[in-house]
Amino acid sequence: MTEHLDKLPFDEYCQTVFNKDTLAEKPECLKGYRGLSCTQYILGPAAAAYLGELGAEVIKIEVPRLGEPMRHCSPYNESWFYPVSRWNPGRGTSPAFQGANHNEYFVTLDYRKPEAKEIFYGLVQKSDFMVWNYRPGTFDRWKIGYGNCKEVNPRIVLAWCGGFGGFGPGRNWASYDILGQAKGGVFSFTGHRAGAAAGFPSKHTTWIMDYSIGMLVSTAMLAGLYWRDTVSNLGNYFECSQVQGSTRYTEYGLPLWGRNGIVRMRWGNWDTEICVNGICKCGLSTYPHSDHPAEKEEGYICVQAYTDEDYAKLMNLVGRPDLAKKYATHDDRVEARAQEEIYPAIEEFLKDKTKEEAARIFTGAGIVSQPLLTIREAANCDHFLERGSLGWYDDPYYGDVFTQKTMYKMSECPPRLKHVHRPVGSDNEEIYQRVCGFSADQIREFEAKEII
């Protein structure tokens, strides 16, 4: 088998070991690990979902009947998957829920009911990890905090994630994703320069601080599990705060402020450290006759030519050999004033081209470029479909769904998508019976009392 692989050209070798169609034939990385996701919105759910993709059995606990709030936030109130639960056939779940809840089992539990504590401990005892993102101290107030859980299960790896963390002067501040972006610093230097058109700082399109800090929370839990299984046989408690993640991403920002007293600011679509590396506007739209509002817009293209050679090629191509001479070294052209000359020269050249034409010209000249794809174009892009990062999925509950699939490729134990998500409480019977051992009658009784 490996001999056959050794002889393949590299491309084909990769296609074979990362083939999206053979994922299910391979073992799962976290087989046999069980986790609880006591979470809402995106940050905590995402952290648990990443582990769910790797094969852990993740049980998501929601409020009975209506479920968590993220099910109820849909763009423009237009798209919903029905039903939200069997008790609410007329209400739907938003597609915003599917990104952060892959492969999970959905049960309900009202933590505040006295009977719930025992049910919850039953789950904790049989779990390896757990994620929380309620406000700090909420679970401790309900007497099911880390202090209690580690008594019940000393091997449990717990992760709390949220806005500002459980101690310190700001411990009571609530947070959301964009508050994390705003208070942590990355918001302040994303966007066009002040004074330029639309010179406002800009939010990232989607909840990046939730998802990316979710990755880190998930990483912390994996590290905790690894340490538990190889070294100590002991559980752990992690706390990851969203604003800190945002601050962590500011690169040279903090060292620069600490040493020089200079505040990193917005620099639009250009790069502060590398030139040419920026997004330029093309004058024409690819779909001038589209009735779709977003598609009538002009195209944009990302151009990268930062070596002296590539830069000279680019400047000659756009008909400005003078700029090639003027800013021959990288140190010269990365200066702010040089950038202000170079990018407009490129945009001048692109004035009468669509992004596809521009890409063809750049590629022909051996310059790296990437047109900005719209969501519709990306969703139909062969690259992502072939690699299985995006694709259609035949869901038993929701029918034909287009969805993001796995986050990365592994040759031996790849992450995979098993179902997008399910209605609230759809796995109550399954989980409470199989994991906790309650009988069907007991489960019906709990349901009647709205404990689950």
């Binding site: 990385c29 700090p136 806005g163 040493r259």
Partner: protein, 476 residues
């Protein structure tokens, strides 16, 4: 470099902290917090405060990582190595002789923003220093066959190898996963890149951020809508390299867990365009439903109202209230100063139900009313008023404000470290606060080849003569 500049680079003192770091007594002063709040917070502090971190074990203490992420100017592998090193792994960073090109990056090419080595005078950029935390720096020329032979000797000592060279480059050099896994079947080999080492859009040599968010639809959907004068916009930070770095750390530890059971290493590919696609949330589900293409919506949110950043008197202010309870608290706060605005919102029939509020007209009306109130107040004033009603709110902080935020200083999120070669440097601490195995930062980036002697001696038994010989041949 002129003499003035030399002096400036060398002698600039640390400007931080401008205000003292709050003490325990100030934070938990009974006058400002309740007994219950103090009690639970001090318990958390006992478990988690980074002042205890150095006495605790490290989660990945047994792991050695070879990070060959310096072929181009992508920082994804560097980010990944940083997270693994915070968690305790011994990360050996393999740079080309003379140092990684990333060392030379500085904003607008300004040398005075760089950090000067107080021994040999070399300059190093802030990004490199910040991300190469506590890694060992060695040099090795992988472009030469002899250099690759040395790498092959290092591989049996390593658990993980991370690289971000052009697709297939290492394989062509005979040091790809196919070849190295023969030397060390337990090796976990991670490739980092923008779009992939295979597939129709596979990476071209020299490809960098932000090409991956451009390909995955992310950049097109970021920024203000055209009708507000906006264009697509890239992230200020290298969001794609950061996401790929996060996921590389994630995948690596997952593979380590799998290795406990199977004894096998594996080949992993982490690309940032897939990372962006993975986190692009409802864009895909929405597309699948009716062919919708998620538009740019500036600093407002398509799915939640109010959940937005709007300008105020001295900057920009985030206010969030996705559900009814917060919605009414926000307007109560506004109504204290401007009752007519509160009335206007409460009178509006289409704003009464949560899901009805997210139409575009409703969003404009809401944001205009909110901003008409905020325009008269500063970020701090707005925040204080909104916090009184327990609404999640906060100004957009610039980095000086982030560095001086008492909460961050108290928690050690922002802190300074005395490095051996670059003086005192301000940086962001590890994100992983932990009870038993916290993440931690013991050192920042090191000079070129700083650990050559240590690593090559310890792992390969090279003596001084051998090291000199390699140096003369230009291999290290």
């Amino acid at each position: 470099m002129s003499d003035d500049l030399k002096k400036e680079v060398q002698e600039a003192p640390l400007l931080w902290p401008l205000t003292p770091i709050p003490t325990f007594e100030e934070v938990y002063d009974p006058k400002i917090c309740t007994e219950a709040s103090r009690e639970i917070s001090t318990v958390f502090e006992g478990w988690l405060h980074p002042k205890h971190e150095m006495a605790k074990p490290e989660a990945l203490g047994q792991i050695r990582v070879l990070e060959c992420g310096h072929g181009g100017l992508q920082v994804n592998s560097m980010q990944a190595g940083a997270y693994l090193s915070e968690l305790g792994a011994n990360v050996i960073m393999v740079e080309p002789p003379g140092g990684s090109p990333i060392r030379k990056l500085t904003a607008f090419g300004r040398k005075r923003y760089m950090f000067k080595d107080n021994v040999n005078g070399d300059l190093c950029g802030g990004t490199f220093l910040h991300e190469c935390r506590q890694k060992q720096s060695i040099t090795l020329d992988l472009a030469k066959p002899e250099g690759r032979e040395i790498l092959k000797k290092l591989v049996p000592h390593a658990d993980v190898l991370i690289e971000n060279y052009a697709p297939g480059q290492f394989d062509a050099w005979g040091i790809g996963y196919r070849q190295l896994s023969k030397l060390n079947p337990r090796l976990i080999y991670v490739w980092n890149g923008q779009k992939g080492q295979w597939g129709s859009l596979k990476d071209k040599p020299g490809e960098l951020y932000p090409s991956s968010p451009c390909a995955s639809g992310w950049c097109h959907a970021t920024g203000l809508p055209k009708s507000f004068g906006g264009t697509p916009i890239r992230s200020g930070e290298r969001s794609d390299d950061i996401l790929a770095g996060n996921l590389t750390a994630h995948a690596t530890i997952a593979a380590l867990i799998y290795r406990i059971r199977s004894g096998k290493g594996q080949f992993i590919e982490v690309t940032s365009s897939e990372a962006h696609a993975r986190i692009h949330d409802y864009a895909w589900g929405w597309y699948g439903m009716d062919g919708s293409s998620k538009p740019r919506y500036g600093n407002w949110d398509l799915a939640i109202n109010i959940y937005s950043v709007n300008p105020c008197k001295d900057g920009y202010m985030m206010v969030g209230g996705g559900h009814d309870r917060l919605w009414y608290r926000i307007w109560k706060t506004v109504g204290k100063d401007r009752p007519e605005l509160e009335d206007m919102i409460l009178d509006e029939p289409t704003l009464r139900v949560v899901i009805d509020r997210v139409g575009h007209d409703q969003q404009v009306k809401t944001c205009v009313c909110l901003t008409d109130w905020m325009k008269d107040w500063t970020r701090e004033e707005c925040r204080a008023k909104l916090l009184e009603e327990e609404v999640a709110a906060g100004g957009v902080s610039f980095l000086d404000e982030v560095a001086e935020e008492p909460h961050y200083k108290y928690r050690g999120m922002v802190r300074a470290i005395e490095t051996a070669h670059y003086g005192k440097v301000l940086f962001c601490g590890s994100v992983f606060y932990g009870h038993r195995t916290p993440g931690r930062v013991k050192d920042l980036g090191r000079p070129v080849g700083y650990d050559n002697s240590d690593v090559y001696r310890k792992l390969l038994g090279f003596d001084t003569n051998k090291l000199n010989e390699l140096y003369e041949k230009g291999l290290i």
